[in-house]
């Protein structure tokens, strides 16, 4: 059919005109709808959107304060802040996510864990243009390689963040603790405002105890930002207050020496300065590298640490609860003397065993055949068990417990040592409450040589030893020595709560100290080998704690069983005898005898502190005349 023929063009025109009119009305109505909508948004709801718009434009950003540094007593840096570089990805700006990730994996060492975490974050709801971290702690090599490839990787950024770093971590991890990423529980606890820009918080040790001091006060800036969060202009700024720099009593040299002395073993050393209670060394061996924990330890690394039979993560110095054994004897001797259960001259016959009555159980002395006639000094020097069995029965459990508690056993007597345990000071009440058993006279006998239920940590033993070194003056153990600037540590240390232990005859202190010197220097002293050839006099007491059982779920080969069933070697002591500069407690797990294993360690520490470090150190100055007096 040809175009235009046989058609009623006029009718078609009229039809079109009608339809066009309908469309005109529709267009008008719909445009009116748009105008009405705009009127609603721009005039009616204008105020609402103005508020929204201002909120959009000006953001308050937090400026995290740099964390306070931690020094040892010689101003050696123990904890610092290091810029750590991490690589982040802004998905909106990335060309192809998979290709980008593949290329990043070629340039960098990206573990499966990193990738999983990244993918998880990618799926979570987030703001557009918010960056997602892919890997933390880039090496300089990796940063350089990234810089080379940067033009091929839009949306990939390297960001810097100040992160805690412990230069001597293997030595200080247990004393200092460490920081880590804030977890959900901590999020509930902290002040959300002050921690607005902070990613890390003290997890243990000094870092945890002085978190508030170290953290500082958050700063703010009002900034105009774009939707990418990029700052266009800083409108107003309140600078953050950096955390306080702390000085600890710790002496890194002594700490290092302690680690060297225990190298290859498991054990703990606590050294206290008796005059101040300052903890000079707090070593738990093996240590670990706390730096791994700061940015988040990998599962395999963590498993390696936590599954290790040597338990490097276990802080033996604060949390290792051992039977004190014979190292409790000096404190018990004080108790026995002061309570009148024994006198300095009292002599008993040691046949090699002890019986409460003639038909009961026999408690053996460590020396078969016995020591014969024994007085207190000899009992200390030789660590005669039977003497102390008798003294214990004579004192009774209540007297013993009341004296021992004055030495800080059964409590956490520390001022600022986070996580210290209180051991166990058994008593009839305790036994009835926890075991539903009466206190048997035999329990008293066991307690007499520091065995039975009694448990104490190396830190508690060191504290009690320092009390003897101080002749009854209490100094609670503490780590904080000073705060840089004009604030005094007393402001932040908890108050001292312990009364001095006053004896009826204060000269008993010297008597017991002298008997401890017999241990080191006497012809029969159990640690005379360790004390030999010293240019100063020292006091000490050896101990041995029996290992009763092995954990059932652990498997050992025969060689190991023999090794792990050996007794723990213990030692407590202080030096010099007069005017003591250092009090120590040492435990070497499965070390065998205290005199052969632990005492030489103490001697080495004494030598180091009193002679080797005294010239440059500020704590342990002993004049040559003092030493000569001691020798004489």
């Amino acid at each position: 059919m040809p175009w235009g023929e046989f058609k009623d063009t006029a009718a078609e025109r009229r039809l079109f005109q009608r339809r066009a009119m309908v469309m005109l009305v529709v267009v008008f109505l719909l445009l009116a709808t748009l105008v009405a909508r705009m009127y609603q948004l721009q005039v009616v709801e204008h105020d609402i959107y103005t508020t929204l718009s201002d909120k959009n434009r000006v953001q308050v950003q937090s400026v995290p304060p740099p964390r306070g540094l931690v020094y040892d007593r010689n101003q050696v840096l123990l904890a610092e802040n290091r810029p750590v570089f991490s690589v982040t990805v802004v998905p909106e700006r990335v060309g192809g996510m998979e290709a980008t990730l593949e290329q990043l994996a070629r340039i960098l060492d990206v573990s499966e864990e990193d990738m999983e975490r990244f993918q998880r974050r990618l799926r979570e709801p987030r703001r557009p243009f918010q960056e997602i971290p892919l890997r933390y702690d880039l090496t300089e090599d990796e940063i350089a390689r990234l810089a080379v490839h940067r033009h091929e990787l839009p949306g990939v950024e390297v960001e810097a963040e100040l992160v805690r770093y412990y230069p001597h971590s293997e030595l200080t991890a247990h004393a200092l603790g460490f920081v880590g990423r804030i977890n959900r529980d901590e999020l509930q606890r902290i002040d959300p405002v002050n921690y607005a820009g902070t990613n890390y918080i003290g997890k243990s040790g000094v870092e945890r105890f002085y978190e508030e001091l170290l953290h500082g006060r958050v700063g703010y800036q009002h900034v105009e930002t774009n939707a990418r969060g990029r700052t266009l202009r800083v409108l107003e700024r309140e600078n953050p207050v950096p955390g306080e720099d702390l000085e600890l009593h710790i002496d890194l040299r002594l700490q290092n020496r302690a680690h060297e002395l225990l190298d290859g073993r498991r054990g703990a050393i606590v050294a206290i300065e008796p005059a101040t209670g300052g903890i000079l060394a707090l070593a738990s061996v093996p240590g670990f590298d706390a730096n791994k924990f700061v940015t988040g330890i990998s599962v395999s690394d963590y498993r390696e640490l936590s599954d290790s039979k040597d338990k490097p993560l276990f802080n033996r110095a604060l949390r290792g609860q051992y039977p004190p054994g014979s190292t409790l004897k000096p404190m018990l001797a004080i108790a026995a003397l002061d309570s009148g259960a024994v006198t300095r001259d009292l002599t008993i016959w040691d046949p090699g065993h002890f019986q409460i009555n003639s038909v009961g159980r026999r408690w053996r002395d460590w020396k078969r055949g016995g020591h014969g006639w024994v007085d207190l000094t000899y009992a200390m020097a030789q660590s005669c068990d039977v003497y102390f069995y008798e003294a214990a029965v004579e004192m009774g459990v209540d007297t013993m417990v009341s004296y021992l508690s004055r030495f800080g056993f059964g409590e956490d007597a520390t001022l600022d040592v986070s996580g210290a345990l209180s051991g166990l000071l058994p008593s009839p009440d305790w036994k009835r409450a926890t075991r539903n058993e009466p206190w048997y006279p035999g329990d008293t006998v066991n307690l007499g040589i520091g065995q039975g239920f009694m448990l104490s940590t190396p830190l508690q033993l060191a504290t009690a030893t320092a009390l003897i070194a101080n002749r009854g003056e209490w100094v609670e153990p503490r780590l904080l020595k000073g705060i840089q600037g004009d604030r005094s540590p007393e402001e932040f240390l908890p108050g001292e709560t312990h009364e001095p232990l006053q004896l009826k005859d204060p000269s008993d202190w010297d008597f017991i100290a002298d008997s401890m010197a017999e241990v080191m220097h006497g012809v029969k002293g159990t640690a005379r080998g360790a004390g030999r050839g010293a240019s100063y006099r020292m006091a000490g007491k050896t101990g041995t704690a029996q290992v009763f059982s092995l954990a059932e779920d652990e498997e050992y080969d025969a060689e190991e069983v023999r090794e792990r069933l050996r007794d723990h070697a213990l030692f407590v002591g202080f030096a010099p005898l007069k005017n003591p500069q250092i009090a120590v407690a040492i435990i070497v797990e499965n070390g065998g005898g205290g005199s052969s294993t632990a005492a030489p360690v103490a001697r080495a520490l004494f030598d180091a502190w009193i002679q080797e470090f005294s010239e440059s150190g500020d704590g342990a100055l002993v004049s040559q005349t003092d030493i000569e007096n001691e020798v004489r």
């Binding site: 059919m1 175009w3 235009g4 046989f6 058609k7 009623d8 063009t9 009718a11 078609e12 025109r13 039809l15 079109f16 005109q17 339809r19 066009a20 469309m23 005109l24 267009v27 008008f28 719909l30 445009l31 709808t33 748009l34 105008v35 909508r37 705009m38 009127y39 948004l41 721009q42 005039v43 709801e45 204008h46 609402i48 959107y49 103005t50 929204l52 718009s53 959009n56 434009r57 709801p125 987030r126 703001r127 557009p128 105009e224 930002t225 774009n226 939707a227 990418r228 266009l232």
Partner: protein
């Protein structure tokens, strides 16, 4: 044949009516003036929307230059040329759409472009915005209007076929625009109101079916976000909340040119492309929006006048459909930016930054001018 020669004559002026310069150029001065006002005003807004990037404005200006030339070229062609070419172009367009599905190049998960060796890249779907109404008008105007039911069926099939191919790319926005252009032809041709009602019933039944079987997740997401943008304020609802904030904070008279904080602080996404009307609304306020919509309304009025005064059914149907397509662009874009409609990726015609749609739209205005300036003066 003689009739046709008279109809298609452009060289002669049988009535000897004085013809001005505009007629000689085959340009409608009123429409041209309105378009120039729109385009130049749009470039000002674009400068702000593109964050004072003059390169963007230059590129867009260049694009308008090309588009104006295309418009002039189309205006020179007699409407009968479009009519004769319509079936061939339609066939070519279908081949192009199929080719896109087979060998097309894509971006953002959709294949829309055809890169033929020796030719510039182009989108066959963009071509179909013009060709589909032409084809429908060609088919329906061959017969008496209003068309019989069977012819309406064929007409709808002509519209539906390219729609399906475009949806497959997938490009829902363009598919709907192409479909609307074709449907307007059927409407203008005189589809009975009864049928129109039936059609709407069908659509309302088809919509849920589409929802469950036809739509991709991101398309569903857009609809859901529209219904409740607050549900995902930092994700999918971000665009709508930010554009509403930009518009609302503009107030009655706006914050002033280049003073919009939302767009310049990059809170507003796509501020120089699909969401440019939010920039205008923020900086020029309700007044600016009124001005823009007024210019659009005047353009539509002029185009509807051209349609009504066109001299044959084909021209009327094509002109009317292209006019209404232009309006759909406006309504969908402004509706989406102001949160009335889902975000479907339709640019604001002749203002948003972007090449293809600008050229297509100006070609459409060229066709309208051609229709208007090639009238025989006998029956006018």
């Amino acid at each position: 044949m003689a009739t046709r020669e008279v109809f298609s004559s452009t060289a002669s002026n049988p009535l000897g009516r004085p013809r001005g310069l505009w007629s000689a150029l085959h340009v409608d001065p009123i429409l041209l003036l309105l378009l120039l006002i729109l385009v130049s005003g749009g470039l000002f807004v674009l400068y702000s929307g593109a964050d004072r990037n003059f390169d963007v404005v230059k590129a867009q200006g260049l694009r308008f230059g090309v588009a104006f030339i295309v418009m002039l070229v189309f205006a020179q062609l007699d409407p009968s040329v479009f009519r004769r070419w319509a079936p061939w172009l339609y066939g070519l367009g279908l081949v192009g759409l199929i080719a896109v599905l087979v060998v097309g190049v894509g971006a953002k998960g959709a294949q829309r472009w055809l890169a033929l060796p020796g030719l510039p890249r182009f989108q066959p779907s963009e071509l179909m915005k013009l060709v589909v109404p032409m084809m429908a008008a060609w088919y329906l105007s061959r017969h008496f209007l209003p068309p019989r039911l069977s012819r309406i069926g064929v007409g709808l099939a002509i519209v539906l076929l390219p729609m399906v191919l475009i949806v497959k790319q997938p490009d829902l926005g363009t598919s709907l625009l192409v479909g609307m252009a074709g449907l307007f032809v059927v409407f203008f041709a005189g589809m009975s109101w009864k049928l129109i009602s039936a059609f709407f019933v069908m659509v309302s039944v088809a919509a849920p079916v589409m929802w469950f079987f036809g739509m991709r997740d991101y398309q569903k997401q857009r609809v859901l976000t529209l219904l409740d943008p607050q549900s995902d304020p930092l994700g999918a609802g971000w665009n709508i909340i930010q554009s509403k904030t930009a518009i609302g904070s503009g107030g009655f008279d706006g914050k002033g040119w280049l003073q919009g904080t939302q767009s310049h602080l990059e809170f507003l996404p796509e501020s120089h492309t699909d969401f440019i009307v939010a920039v205008l609304a923020e900086e020029f306020g309700f007044i600016g929006v009124l001005a823009l919509l007024s210019v659009y309304f005047l353009i539509i009025l002029r185009c509807l006048f051209i349609s009504v005064t066109a001299q044959d059914s084909f021209s009327r149907l094509v002109a009317g459909a292209l006019t209404m397509t232009f309006f759909i662009y406006i309504f969908v874009n402004v509706g989406m930016v102001s949160g009335l409609l889902p975000v479907v990726g339709v640019p604001l015609p002749l203002v948003s930054y972007g090449g293809t749609s600008t050229v297509t739209l100006m070609a459409a205005f060229g066709i309208l001018m051609s229709i208007h300036t090639h009238r025989r003066m006998i029956t006018a």
